[in-house]
Symmetry: C2
Amino acid sequence: MSEISHKLKEAGLKITLPRIKILEILENNRGQHVSAEDIYRMLLERGEEIGVATIYRVLTQCEQASLVSRLQFEGGRSVFEIAEDDHHDHIVCVRCGHVEEFHDKVIERRQQEVAAEAGFEMEDHSMVLYGLCRKCKKQ
Amino acid sequence: MSEISHKLKEAGLKITLPRIKILEILENNRGQHVSAEDIYRMLLERGEEIGVATIYRVLTQCEQASLVSRLQFEGGRSVFEIAEDDHHDHIVCVRCGHVEEFHDKVIERRQQEVAAEAGFEMEDHSMVLYGLCRKCKKQ
DNA sequence: CTTAATGCAAACCGTTTGCATAGAT
DNA sequence: ATCTATGCAAACGGTTTGCATTAAG
């Protein structure tokens, strides 16, 4: 049984073609951060038509099962990636949309401290840096 | 001439009743982070009906004129506040929605560094911490 | 056979836009 | 008088939902 099927089974989700295909797309695009729409189009290109409703349902279920993580950008757009065990944040190019990941211990620690100073017990955070990537800077 | 009218004039915006009322609401709710919908309802309660389209237009114009700042939460929801000259980030209670502001120089500096390390020229960032506020922690 | 997953289309929600009317300078 | 702002309703874009159909276990 494939890796993907195995993960689905562990999550208590039935092993169906749409689910496998969607997870394959994500696997083949590690580090790429694709939208539901992207997945829909990529599947179409291969001649595999899966309704957007299904794509969203699968992504949401897989997110709940921690197989996939969702990143919400400003403007209400979401992108998805295969869940990694390591937490990371994102830098997005405001010009070309290119996304890179980073992780910074100094920031993470300070966030905890800052939250505590405000009387909060921090559960989560979202941090996205926006700027010009190397390529776009040159143009 | 009122403070608000003065600001509008400086921004090159005509001084109109809807604009004044919307900015008044924001003034009277400093630190509260209200949505367009909130503003609409607050005005209704006072018997002042202003269309949502106008509210959005006014908020967007005022944002461009730096009179108002917009904060985009996950899920595509936006809240607004009267612009302060100092930059700050936000902590949101996941239970009651209470929002607090903070500013941390250590984090700000590291963000610049991290972006530079990734080859980016950072223009902006969004950082929202999520957790339980003091009150909700107790319950 | 039973229960969960899919496809479709319609609904949704916050936000934006086109256009005719009203209002500020 | 001119030109911008407003109201309305319709459009929008991404996402969700209801329901009948299909497929997995």
